[in-house]
């Protein structure tokens, strides 16, 4: 395959105008700004674009033959140029021209880039998403007109680079292709650090690959009595990327927990070495490494839970939410215990970095407005979840079903206080109006719909079956401080968009019920876990389900 270049790359030609003028591209600048609304989930890539999985894409025969031929060097140079042009313009960095060191404005840089990425045939820019041919200066669009493809057909130029991600596309194969040599160039330019993969020999001798089944973590839990309330909550932890990440990096607890290291004489579990975090760690370990698909028997957790709180040990049907709170409390106290073990001072809850607090903890601001002097007193309370009333709820839009936004509207609406309030600024004992707003929202927003009503008259409980439509994406902008519920009803703040990833549903009546859980995986596929039975469900079915607990995760991951 000979390269038919009109101009030699690298000289000031018409090839890639942006590059040939020698704009100095920066070494990587760091960002990682936490916006203050979430406790910062560590973004460990100090890069312009996030690192991706494209390194694993295989080369095709066409690519291999080019890289083995004499054209290899030219191809690599051109590829490098193409990737450099694909680099997104970093708004935080100051670009200087190579020629004379003068500052080039971002606007000018953007213009240059747009110009060079215009389709040669139709001049469409397509948001900088075009294909730059590897063998000539042609830039082709890929959407409607498909000029990139027609260029290939006319000129037999097999390869082009996608200017969005820097990947090479092979037209005869109709697929993206990659190769370690190309990947090295691409990742160095786009992410600022080069990814080097260890060779196969090193891998084979030290590691065995986990099984594909284990990696997916798709298993059920065997019902060991009345344990469905436990297994549902556990599944929401296992398929929660943040918690999963915490447990995959749980060395701090594992190596410092005295209950893990101690074994009594008979090697059995007892009061002295019962630790919930260790049990759950064990569950994660086995879930993601065992090769079988049979349901998991959580015997260790049952026994441990018995020592901690007998009622929640799985022989009696209990409330899933209560179990969830119990586990979260255990995570926190275990964390404090570990901190003590390693000699660190305890910290205030607001700065605690345990699993519970970093994942679930947010703040509610309650404003009380005095009706005589109109002064507003604000207090901040920490929270790990929102409990929403659904009794007597009517839809805000008559004729349509009640949805979660209606419940949230009720939660944050103004409420007249029954008791007389002693105002702090004017001193009167008057009526007051209270309203709630969210000061900070945790990365995982947990919502409980109060479906269980306790009737104090005859000491009975009943279940409210009202169907409530759960949106797949939740916009919390208008419920946050600084926004008004009515004015900003349609406002969208990117930081406050949440994605539904788990629902716990209760089926049946108060006393004889069953829990099932629905979770979504990274590819958007929904699964239903009914004890040990795992099956697929459609998105429609998910939205139609009568949920009890819903879990949203921030869209910013």
């Amino acid at each position: 395959m000979s390269s038919s270049r009109k101009t030699i790359p690298g000289t000031s030609g018409k090839t890639y105008p942006g590059i040939s003028n020698g704009i100095k591209t920066p070494p990587v600048s760091s960002n990682g700004s936490s916006n203050g609304f979430h406790k910062s989930i560590h973004s460990d890539s100090n890069s312009l674009s996030p690192s991706d999985n494209y390194g694993d894409i295989e080369p095709c025969s066409h690519l291999k033959s080019v890289l083995e031929s004499n054209a290899k060097e030219t191809a690599l140079i051109t590829y490098k140029q193409a990737v450099t042009i694909s680099r997104p313009i970093d708004p935080q960095h100051i670009y200087t021209s190579k020629k004379d060191g003068s500052v080039v404005s971002h606007h000018k840089l953007l213009q240059r880039k747009s110009n060079s990425l215009k389709c040669t045939d139709c001049s469409l820019n397509n948001f900088h998403n075009n294909f730059t041919c590897l063998q000539c200066p042609h830039v082709g669009c890929f959407n409607d007109h498909n000029h990139a493809y027609t260029h290939y057909k006319l000129n037999q130029h097999v390869f082009a680079t996608d200017s969005r991600n820097g990947l090479l596309y092979c037209f005869p194969c109709g697929n993206y292709v990659n190769h370690p040599q190309l990947e090295k160039i691409r990742s160095e330019i786009l992410t600022g650090y080069s990814v080097s993969r260890p060779t196969d020999d090193i891998i084979d001798s030290s590691y065995t690959d986990p099984s594909g089944l284990a990696v997916s973590g798709l298993k059920g839990f065997v019902n060991l009595g009345a344990t469905c309330f436990m297994s549902s909550i556990l599944q929401t932890f296992i398929h929660n990327p943040i918690i999963k990440n915490q447990f995959f990096n749980n060395d701090l607890h594992y190596f410092n927990c005295e209950k893990n290291l101690a074994t009594n004489e008979s090697g059995l579990l007892d009061e002295t070495n019962a630790c919930i975090t260790c049990s759950i760690d064990n569950i994660f370990q086995l879930f993601f490494s065992s090769n079988t698909n049979e349901g998991f028997g959580m015997t260790n957790l049952l026994t441990t839970a018995w020592y901690k709180k007998k009622s929640l040990a799985g022989f009696q049907e209990q409330d899933a939410h209560e179990f969830w709170q119990f586990i979260l409390n255990e995570f926190h106290s275990d964390y404090e215990r570990i901190r003590e073990n390693i000699g660190k001072d305890p910290v205030d809850s607001s700065e605690c970095t345990c699993i519970t607090h970093t994942t679930f903890s947010g703040e509610l601001q309650s404003s009380i407005k005095c009706l005589s002097c109109s002064s507003i007193t604000k207090t901040i309370d920490p929270m790990v979840d929102l409990s929403l009333e659904i009794n007597h709820l009517k839809s805000n839009h008559p004729g349509s079903e009640i949805n979660l936004y209606d419940c949230l509207d009720l939660f944050t609406s103004e409420e007249k206080l029954d008791v007389m309030y002693t105002c702090q600024s004017c001193g009167d004992k008057t009526k007051a109006i209270k309203s709630l707003k969210l000061k900070s929202i945790p990365p995982v927003l947990s919502i409980q719909l109060k479906r269980f009503k306790h009737n104090s008259l005859n000491d009975s409980s009943s279940k409210i079956e009202t169907p409530i439509k759960i949106p797949l994406f939740l916009n919390m902008t208008k419920y946050a401080i600084g926004h008004d519920a009515e004015e900003d009803a349609d406002l969208i703040d990117g930081d406050k968009i949440f994605e539904l990833f788990a629902l716990v549903c209760h089926i049946g009546s108060v006393n004889t019920g069953h829990y099932i859980v629905l979770t979504k995986d990274g590819n958007g596929q929904w699964y239903k876990f009914d004890d040990s039975v795992v099956s697929l469900v459609s998105q429609e079915e998910v939205m139609r389900t009568n949920a009890y607990l819903v879990f949203y995760i921030t869209h910013k991951i």
Binding site: I57, D209, L268, T303, W306, S532, S535, L536
Partner: protein, 108 residues
Amino acid sequence: MTEQAITFQVVAESVLKDIVDNIVRQQTLATFANHVSIQQQTKGNHESNVPVISNFEIGSTKDIFGQDKTKLKTSEASRYFSCENCGRKIAGGRFAQHVNKCLERRRR
């Protein structure tokens, strides 16, 4: 170029279509790359007897591994697990009860 009259509506729709096309392409590529990644890094497990997720039918009577749902529930409940306290093997459905009694006994 289009033969339609150039109105704001037409331009807006065209821009939207382009954006959506791009998003779909990016997402397809990302999903594909994830799949390839997982495939590659979990290679070497070609031993037989490793169950595979095979049933992608929604609303079927079988679970994702192709096992019948009702049969599975009954068979799972009769699996035996060892009690961590006394070491005996107890059937699944009665396990929690046993743990409760067994640990009570031990306490006394």
